[in-house]
Subunit: 141 residues, 2 copies
């Protein structure tokens, strides 16, 4: 019974809200994106436009891989590559009224999932940490 | 009942085995470590010595933060800094006979946990992905 209550919880109640999520603007270059990732300490963050629409994700592996040369990492290329060219566009999304059940399935292969409203505006992220904490609480009772 | 069977499973049965885990040697420099991270696609990997003893973890946020200057990321410093100086030494560890119950609690705050034998030799890693997959299977039955 407790299991069913948890699995039907709305993900909207478990999100890291958009104002607390580090992100980059779609118009930025990779040098700026790597600085934001480094300063925030996160390995992947959302890419938004000025109206807060979600366009994709950018991560340190994606950035570093895009400047990997034959012998060395070509850091000088960073300022000339736009985030839009390297970001991952094909990403799973959730709606705030989706169930935890649906979120859990997506988190198996993704460290976090972005939540959007019906017009595609960014609402926050559901993370593996939050869901593992909920599940651990359920299983240890 | 099914819950109890799963939670008492030995983590040894769920590990990514050591031979399939990307790692760096403790004697390497940060430039080499960043190349291994970039080529493997992972954001954090174990640091081992030639005898396969575990010494810590190295990650792209730790490397980038260590060369973050006032105005830019000082990439030229990478080849002169040893991994040992920047790696995270204080990390949780599991024994192969520990239960999934114990592993789940540690995975709340860590994307993966290293497993070692009684002498500290590296056996593999327990990842959030593997545990989320097990839990999802349990909860969807
Ligand atoms: N400043 C911090 N304080 C405490 N713990 C920290 C932390 N930074 C990282 N961690 C821990 O490390 C995990 C992996 O972080 P990572 O940056 O690779 O991967 C993160 C990051 O890519 C993204 N993320 C989480 N919170 C974020 C935020 N506020 N803004 C932007 N992205 C975020 O979601 C992924 C999964 O997050 P999750 O919390 O499940 O898992 C986090 C969390 O358990
Ligand atoms: N080549 C690939 N193929 C398929 N999926 C991939 C992948 N690379 C990354 N992922 C997905 O992204 C998640 C986060 O990867 P990350 O490298 O930040 O964080 C990883 C990485 O730091 C480490 N890790 C996992 N497998 C590893 C391996 N074979 N060698 C070294 N480190 C590994 O454990 C963390 C958590 O791994 P987890 O599997 O739970 O979660 C992985 C997995 O769901």
């Amino acid at each position: 019974l407790q299991k069913d209550v948890l699995m039907e919880k709305r993900i909207g109640d478990l999100l890291v809200p958009s104002e607390r999520v580090a992100h980059v603007q779609i118009g930025n270059n990779l040098e700026h994106a790597l600085l934001v990732l480094t300063k925030s300490g996160y390995t992947a963050i959302p890419v938004l436009d000025p109206k807060y629409k979600l366009h994709g994700l950018i991560s340190s592996p994606l950035i570093l891989d895009s400047i990997l040369g034959i012998e060395r990492i070509e850091f000088e290329k960073l300022e000339n590559i736009p985030v839009e060219q390297v970001m991952k566009k094909d990403i799973p999304k959730l709606h705030v009224n989706d169930s935890l059940n649906k979120g859990l399935k997506l988190l198996i292969n993704h460290p976090f999932i972005c939540a959007v409203d019906k017009d595609g505006y960014f609402e926050g992220i559901l993370t593996r940490r939050i869901v593992l904490k909920q599940l651990s609480g359920l299983l240890h009772r």
